[in-house]
C-alpha cells in the first residue's frame, strides 16, 4: 500500500533535504579547520543520538556511553593495526563487535536496575573498561594509546581511494545520516513504541504483558552499537585512540549534548553537540586555551535543565517524531 505524503511529511523531508544539502556543500566552502570541526560535530552527534535512544525514548540515563564509544574505537584500531593493508569495513566490523560486547555486558547487568541506579551502574561499568584499557599496556598501549594510519575508502573491484578531509566528511555524513534514519525508524516502530511506553509508565507496560527487561536490553544493545560506530569514525578521523576517550568525561559530554539539544528528538543531540563544541571553540579563541571553558558551559547546562528542560529543539519534539 502506498501512503500519500501528508503536509507534515512534505515539510519534514523538504527540511531534511535542505539540511543535507548544506552539510554536503559545507566542506567545499569551509576552511580546513572548520571542515574537520564539522566532521567531528557529526561524530559526537552520532554518539549523542545513540544515547538519546535511551535517555529520550526509554527514559534511562546512561552515564557509560564512553565504554561503547571506546570499545568501538579500540576495535577499529585493532583491525587497522593487525590487517594489512588496513581495511575500512573490517575496522567498522570489529569496532561494532567490540561495542556490542561492551553493550551486552552493560545491558545484562544494568537493566536490572532502574532510574538513577541504572545511571550509576552504567558509569561504574564504563570505568571498568577504562581501568582495563588503561592498565593493559601491552595490548592497548596504556596511557599513550595507539596510532595507526587511516584506511582507504574501498569497494572491492570498484573504488580504492585515499580519504581527503572532504571525502571523509561525506563518508561520515553518510554514516550519520543512515544511522539517523535507522534510529528514527526504530523509534517509530512497534518496538520503539514499547520503549516510549516504558519511559511513560514502566509498571503499566509490564502489566500489559511486555517483557520490559528484554526491551531494555535490546535498547541498550542498539544504543551501544551506534555509539561504537561513532567511536570507529572518531578513530578513523583522528588516526589514534587513547584511553581518555573511554573515561567518564566522554559519557558526561554525551549527556550534556543530549540535554542541550533536546532529548527525544534524535536531531537535537546533534545540534547540542554542535552548540557545545562551538561554545568551547569560541571561548578558547576569546579567552585562550587555558580558559576553564567547562565552568561557563556547566552554568549554561544547569540553567537549561531548570529553565529549558526540553533543550534547544524541544519545541519541535512532537513534530519531529510524527
Amino acid at each position: 500500500m502506498t501512503r500519500h505524503m501528508t503536509r507534515h511529511d512534505k515539510i519534514y523531508w523538504a527540511g531534511f533535504a535542505v539540511v543535507m544539502a548544506i552539510l554536503i556543500v559545507a566542506p567545499l566552502v569551509l576552511p580546513e579547520f572548520w571542515r574537520r570541526f564539522l566532521t567531528e560535530v557529526l561524530i559526537w552527534g552520532l554518539l549523542a543520538m545513540s544515547s538519546d535512544l535511551l535517555i529520550g525514548y526509554t527514559g534511562m540515563i546512561s552515564f557509560g556511553h564512553s565504554a561503547f564509544f571506546g570499545l568501538g574505537m579500540y576495535g577499529a584500531a585493532a583491525a587497522l593495526l593487525l590487517v594489512s593493508p588496513p581495511n575500512l569495513w573490517l575496522a567498522i566490523g570489529l569496532g561494532l563487535v567490540g561495542a556490542a560486547a561492551a553493550a551486552l555486558f552493560v545491558a545484562y547487568f544494568s537493566t536490572r536496575l532502574r532510574d538513577i541506579y541504572f545511571a550509576i551502574s552504567t558509569l561504574i561499568f564504563s570505568q571498568i573498561f577504562y581501568v582495563i584499557i588503561f592498565t593493559w599496556t601491552s595490548l592497548t598501549g596504556g596511557e599513550n594509546g595507539l596510532i595507526f594510519s587511516r584506511p582507504h575508502f574501498s569497494i572491492p573491484f570498484l573504488v580504492d581511494a585515499r580519504f581527503t578531509t572532504t571525502t571523509l566528511h561525506w563518508f561520515v555524513l553518510a554514516v550519520v545520516t543512515a544511522s539517523y534514519l535507522i534510529l528514527r525508524r526504530i523509534t517509530q516502530s512497534p518496538f520503539g513504541m514499547v520503549l516510549q511506553s516504558i519511559r511513560e509508565n514502566e509498571a503499566r507496560t509490564r502489566a500489559i504483558g511486555f517483557s520490559v527487561q528484554h526491551y531494555k536490553i535490546v535498547a541498550v544493545m542498539l544504543s551501544g552499537l551506534f555509539a561504537g560506530l561513532a567511536g570507529v569514525l572518531y578513530g578513523i578521523q583522528n588516526e589514534f585512540v587513547a584511553p581518555n576517550f573511554v573515561y567518564f568525561i566522554t559519557s558526561g559530554d554525551t549527556v550534556i549534548f543530549n540535554v542541550m539539544g533536546g532529548i527525544g528528538t534524535l536531531v537535537g543531540p546533534i545540534l547540542g553537540a554542535g552548540f557545545f563544541q562551538l561554545l568551547h571553540e569560541l571561548m578558547s579563541r576569546v579567552f585562550g586555551d587555558q580558559f576553564p571553558y567547562l565552568i561557563p558551559l556547566g552554568f549554561i547546562f544547569i540553567a537549561m535543565i531548570i529553565f529549558l528542560p526540553q533543550g534547544l529543539l524541544g519545541f519541535a519534539r512532537r513534530w519531529l517524531n510524527k
Binding site: 536490572r112 538513577i116 558526561g252 540535554v259 565552568i295
Partner: protein, 293 residues
C-alpha cells in the same frame, strides 16, 4: 599447603588495618550521600567534588594557621554553606520534577566545581602534614597513630549523626520529612528548609571526610570522581538509604580492596569493588542490608 606456607600474614594484618581506616572514611562519605538520597531523592553527583573542595579548604586553613582541628571545622562549615547555596539555587526549583533531573543538575555542579579547582589550585596534588605525628610499631612498620584517629573520628561523626537523627529536634524533622513530606509540612515543619539543611549536612560530612583523608594521599582536583564512584558502590551494595548498611558495606569493600592490593596493582584493585557490585546486582539488587519495605 604451599599457599598457607607463603601466606604473608604480617602484610595481611597491615592491610586489614589499612582497609578499616579507608573504610571508615568511605563510610563517612557514603553516609552523607545516602542521607541526601534517602531524604531528598537527590542523587548527589557532586558529592565527590564537595569532598575534594573540603580537603582544599582544609589545606588552605592549615597553611595559614597550622591547626588541623580548626581546618576540619572551617572546611565543614564552609562547604555546608556552599552546599546550602547549591541546594537553594539549583535543586529547589526542581522539587516535584523527575528525580533524574537532579542527577543531571548535580552532574553539572560537579563539572563546575572540578574545573574551578583545577583552575584555582592547578593540576599538582597538594600535601597536608599529619596532624598527629606519633607512631606505633606494627610488625616492621612504624604505623602512624593518625590513621587510627581518623578511623575513630569518622566513626564518632557517624555515631553522632545517628544520635542527632534520633534525638535532636532537627533530626526528628528530617525523619518526619522522609516519611511523609506533605504531612510534615502540614504539621508545621518547614520542609524546604529541612531539605536545604539536609543537603548542607551531607556536604559538611563530605568536607570533613575530605580533610581527614587529605594527609593520607594528598589533594588534587580529580579525586572527587573516584570517591563518588566508591561511595555509590557502597550505597548500592549496602542498600540505598540504610545508614548501617553503608557503614558495613564501606568497610567490607575497603577491606577487599586492601587485600587485593597485596597481589594486584592498586589501580587494578579497584576492579574488586566493581566485582562486588556486579555480584550484588546479580543476586540481591536491592542491596545486602536494605531495610525490607
Amino acid at each position: 599447603m604451599q599457599f598457607f606456607h607463603n601466606f604473608p600474614l604480617d602484610l595481611f594484618i597491615i592491610q586489614t588495618v589499612n582497609g578499616i581506616v579507608a573504610g571508615m572514611i568511605l563510610a563517612l562519605v557514603a553516609s552523607g550521600l545516602t542521607l541526601i538520597f534517602g531524604i531528598m531523592d537527590v542523587v548527589n553527583f557532586a558529592h565527590g567534588e564537595l569532598f575534594m573542595l573540603g580537603a582544599y579548604v582544609g589545606v588552605i586553613v592549615i597553611a595559614y594557621t597550622g591547626n588541623f582541628w580548626l581546618a576540619l571545622v572551617v572546611a565543614a562549615i564552609t562547604i555546608a554553606i556552599l552546599g546550602a547555596a547549591i541546594q537553594i539555587v539549583t535543586l529547589r526549583p526542581l522539587i516535584g520534577r523527575d528525580p533524574l533531573n537532579t542527577i543531571l543538575v548535580t552532574f553539572g555542579i560537579s563539572l563546575i566545581l572540578q574545573n574551578y579547582a583545577l583552575w584555582q589550585f592547578g593540576p599538582v596534588a597538594r600535601r597536608m602534614p599529619d596532624p598527629i605525628t606519633g607512631h606505633f610499631i606494627l610488625f616492621y612498620l612504624d604505623y602512624p597513630w593518625y590513621r587510627m584517629v581518623i578511623a575513630g573520628l569518622s566513626g564518632a561523626i557517624i555515631g553522632g549523626f545517628y544520635l542527632f537523627l534520633k534525638y535532636a529536634k532537627f533530626g526528628v524533622w528530617i525523619r518526619a520529612t522522609t516519611q511523609d513530606r506533605v504531612m510534615a509540612q502540614a504539621m508545621g515543619i518547614p520542609v524546604p528548609w529541612v531539605l536545604t539543611g539536609v543537603f548542607a549536612l551531607g556536604a559538611a560530612m563530605a568536607a570533613a571526610s575530605g580533610v581527614l583523608f587529605a594527609p593520607l594521599a594528598g589533594v588534587d582536583f580529580s579525586m572527587g570522581l573516584d570517591w563518588v564512584l566508591k561511595a555509590f558502590i557502597v550505597v548500592v551494595v549496602g542498600g540505598m538509604g540504610s545508614l548501617g548498611g553503608s557503614v558495613v558495606a564501606a568497610i567490607f569493600i575497603s577491606l577487599l580492596e586492601s587485600y587485593a592490593a597485596i597481589w594486584l596493582d592498586p589501580s587494578q584493585a579497584v576492579i574488586v569493588s566493581f566485582v562486588v557490585l556486579i555480584l550484588t546486582l546479580l543476586f540481591k539488587p536491592t542491596g545486602l542490608f536494605a531495610a525490607p519495605k
